[in-house]
Amino acid sequence: MASDNILELNRLQKCFGGVVAVSDLSLLVNKGAITSLIGPNGAGKTTIFNLITGFLEPTSGHVRFAGRRLSKMRPHRIAAAGIGRTFQNVQIFSQMSVLENIMVGRHLRSRAGIFYSAALPPFLRKEEKKIRQAAEKQLHFLGLAEQAHLPAGSLPLGSQRMLEIARAMALEPKLLLLDEPASGLNARETIAMGELIEKIRQMNISVLLVEHDMDLVMEISDRVAVINFGRLIAKGTPAEIQANEDVIAAYLGE
């Protein structure tokens, strides 16, 4: 049934010049589930994320999100449609405070325009308060409340990744795309990250995850899709994937 899927990739193809980065990729992402996208480096996972979020335009094929076709939509429109994301190389606003970073995430949930902002700030006090409160709630959820007023750039990498997720969560997305959230984290931080992702699922937000840490992927995923050279080579439950010979061959290099 179509309504069980929040995201549908339909014969997606992306070429950079002569190089085919993503080839004829069809994939369904279940609503309310954690779906992981794994594959060797350079398999095209981040390209897929960029195709979904509008940073890249597919050469052919299309993406459907919540029953709606996301064709030629710019990234900010896709965010407004309900897809949040993080980046492989953490992209926090390092000059701004931790709290302000999350307040930026409330952008779509507030309305003040340039005229009111400059000329009539007293009329916006209520909205500013709401933005701040929502951001503080997010910080508590992530356990970053004590660092609220530090410059975001001064946080350790693990906290920066958490912050990036909190910022995307502030959008109140229906689907969250996490690009290697555990890379560069130590064992303890990775466990915390896994718990956080499970918590996000419990909030009824669907998660699409790209990750290299196989223990993490196998533990938290409901479904796993394996990509190699831009093609889907296997999909299934973590147990099925672990037993799949094509996958083992791809990872061990035949």
């Binding site: 990234p75 900010h76 701004m96 952008h107 325009g113 340039i114 902002s117 995307a168 959008l171």
Partner: protein
């Protein structure tokens, strides 16, 4: 506004109130009035350069459009100066919109190119469209402004008036920076991709800030026209646009106060240099106003090399450094005694 910025704003208000009683010479008061016009344009330009991360090498053209629209409508068509000023603002909004949309959709510094071309066009039109602009002869008989039927005749009155407008401009700029829109702008400056992924329309924000900064420039031009009562193309060539960018860069891109200080400092520099030239003559150097450009270039070079974040950040950083080393020294002393 909060904390240090509101303290700074208070200091600005006090300075505006006190200055005319300290500077009684009309000529120097006039210099400070000219500084106000540059200040207003630079505060707007700082929003664009420091917060939206875009450079305009054509803000002198928006100043010119403000000045010429006010001049033409009041001197030739006898409009009310206030109505003319609003009309100038509307024209500038339309032009900035048309210029900004194509240039700001693209990543990179296309706006700098577009505005540079635009500045040249405006200057050529102001020289050549004699029927409209009076050509090189300019427009004479631009009336002085009056405020609620009260004519701003003396230098002192115009000083208070123009610097009040600057204060309003500074106030608006600080409000903007500390708002939802300001956070959006700083986010764009931090990472365009991340900002877009949070639903911020980068093009829309850049265009809006570009328009706002052009409006500041236009008002500054209108105020200029009503102060000098006569305009010609001379002050509005491309080098004026470059000078405005220099002022912002010298003061410090990422801080409104930086742009403010840069604008005041470089506006007063020619006076300081002509004052110094008397002394230089004694040493045997025959200083001429033509050398001003050389001095400007030198100052910009020195600032970029040694204080890349501008005078304002440079000073506040070194004050911080001195303070912390004093604290360290004091700490050591305590240790020694203990």
């Amino acid at each position: 506004m909060k904390g240090r910025n509101s303290a700074g704003f208070l200091a600005l208000i006090v300075a505006i109130i006190v200055t005319p009683s300290l500077v009684t010479n009309d000529y120097y008061l006039g210099t400070l009035i000219f500084a106000a016009f540059n200040c207003l344009a630079c505060v707007g330009l700082c929003l664009l350069m420091g917060y939206a991360g875009q450079i305009s090498i054509g803000h002198g053209a928006f100043v010119a459009i403000g000045a010429y629209t006010s001049g033409i409508l009041t001197a030739k068509l006898a409009w009310s100066p206030w109505l003319a000023m609003v009309c100038a603002v509307l024209i500038v909004i339309v032009i900035a919109f048309c210029l900004g949309i194509p240039a700001l959709r693209l990543k990179g510094h296309y706006l700098a190119m577009a505005t540079l071309g635009f500045a040249s066009i405006v200057h050529i039109v102001s020289v050549a469209a004699i029927d409209l602009t009076g050509g090189p002869a300019g427009i004479v008989g631009i009336p002085r402004l009056d405020l609620f039927g009260y004519a701003l005749n003396s230098e002192k009155q115009y000083f208070y008036f123009s610097w009040s407008i600057v204060a309003i401009g500074v106030y608006l700029a600080f409000n903007l920076i500390n708002s939802r829109v300001g956070r959006g702008l700083r986010a764009i400056h931090g990472s365009e991709d991340a900002a877009a992924s949070l639903g911020i329309s980068i093009t829309a924000y850049k265009v809006q800030v570009f328009i706002l900064s052009a409006v500041f420039a236009s008002v500054s031009g209108s105020l200029y026209a009503h102060y000098v009562n006569y305009i010609d193309p001379g002050p509005f060539d491309v080098s004026h646009s470059v000078l405005l960018v220099t002022m912002v860069a010298v003061g410090g891109l990422h801080n409104i106060w930086g742009a403010f200080i840069g604008a005041v400092a470089l506006s007063l520099l020619p006076e300081i240099l002509s004052f110094l030239s008397d002394y230089l003559l004694v040493v045997g150097i025959h200083y001429q106003p033509d050398y001003d450009t050389l001095v400007y270039g030198g100052i910009l070079l020195i600032i970029m090399l040694f204080l890349p974040e501008g005078i304002f950040a440079g000073i506040s950083n070194s004050v911080g450094a001195v303070a912390s080393s004093v604290r360290k020294l004091a700490g050591k002393k305590d240790d020694g005694l203990g």
